[in-house]
Symmetry: C2
Subunit: 212 residues, 2 copies
Amino acid sequence: MSQKETYHHGDLRQTLLNEALAWIAQEGISNISLRGLARRVGVSHNAPYRHFEDKTALLAAVAAEGFQSLTAALSGAISQDSTDYLGNLEAIGVAYVGYGVQNFARYRVMFGPALSECHQRSPLAAAAGDAFNVLVEAIVQGQAAGVIRRDNPEKIARIAWALVHGLVMLAIDGQLSLTPGDSLEEIAHYATRLLSAGLAPWRSPADGQPLQ
Amino acid sequence: MSQKETYHHGDLRQTLLNEALAWIAQEGISNISLRGLARRVGVSHNAPYRHFEDKTALLAAVAAEGFQSLTAALSGAISQDSTDYLGNLEAIGVAYVGYGVQNFARYRVMFGPALSECHQRSPLAAAAGDAFNVLVEAIVQGQAAGVIRRDNPEKIARIAWALVHGLVMLAIDGQLSLTPGDSLEEIAHYATRLLSAGLAPWRSPADGQPLQ
DNA sequence: CGAGAAAAGTTGTCGCTGTCAACATAGAGG
DNA sequence: CCTCTATGTTGACAGCGACAACTTTTCTCG
């Protein structure tokens, strides 16, 4: 819209990215095709190749956009001046689940099988790392304040990430079977509370052995 | 092997299922094709259609096999006569992660996007439900013994499932970045310990509000 | 035992897809 | 003005999923 018609046909690159998201949201990720995308946008079947090396590259660009907005969503969920570090951690978890479910089409691309092979490649890995670091930072702060046990913060972050990631995946795939009264947001809250309770620095009486 | 050569060309159905797994393990799930599968097995490109309605049906059969063996793996992980219910729960979690990582090709099919639309359909849903019930049962036992807080056991099970599912997905996609000394099995142990610590029935001092 | 039905496999075809190669056009810069 | 490069188009090819029609094998049952 903004800078369209300025060049040959406008900024086709961003148009393709947006249309891909709309397509995936409507018909799922498995049936998406470059040719169909070009058709919907109104260009020839080979025009996308001027902006993306191949189909995977287009999906990777969608994913990279996703990780950036995910990072923003997570950063925006915490209150920087708050000293409720556990609350911040829980807020990050809830925000993560909310982002994944609201942007489920993008999320499917970000963690879909098409990108699973090249997922350690930059700049996709860098974008994903930024989002991960928001989580690590919150854990480090909680450890400094003494409300989170002092194990390797990255290790804790990986587990917290796995928890919310699993919630999003199951929710997107419709396998959470949400009963009325158990909204997804409530489950996310409950899950993050459960984890943060387990993260307490004192050893719980049920756990005869020290953790780790 | 067992009942081969008895009919036209042997039991093509199972041969196709096995070959599909081998293919996915080698080259990923995105590039699999019915025609290539038939080629590898040595039949014509349309022979698979005598055993599976379409490509999705074949993948669904692979997934159904997977959920059955997953159920067996989880059931085998717990010691029925033990009274260490938290230990049983943790063992289920570790077994789940182990199954997913060892059978990563099958796991990708079970939770891949091809089946995400029809995932509530039987008998796939029933097979998945069996695996889920192993988890619920362990939680109910722990609640009866008083070592797990008495919230809705299915709700707790969904969260535990999300945790281990997320771990498997991230591990399979190579996004767990396992540092030396942090083996996946150790992370799975740590994660399940963390969760079971959070599941303790007493309220932790850090949590000013009662959970739920 | 023998004919017909049903199961299992094959060949042929269609439209669609990803990708490569060659060609066309529009703006930029000398 | 003329060329260079970025962008978009047309054409082609092999591979794919799926359907239809045909053949071969096995089973069933009178």
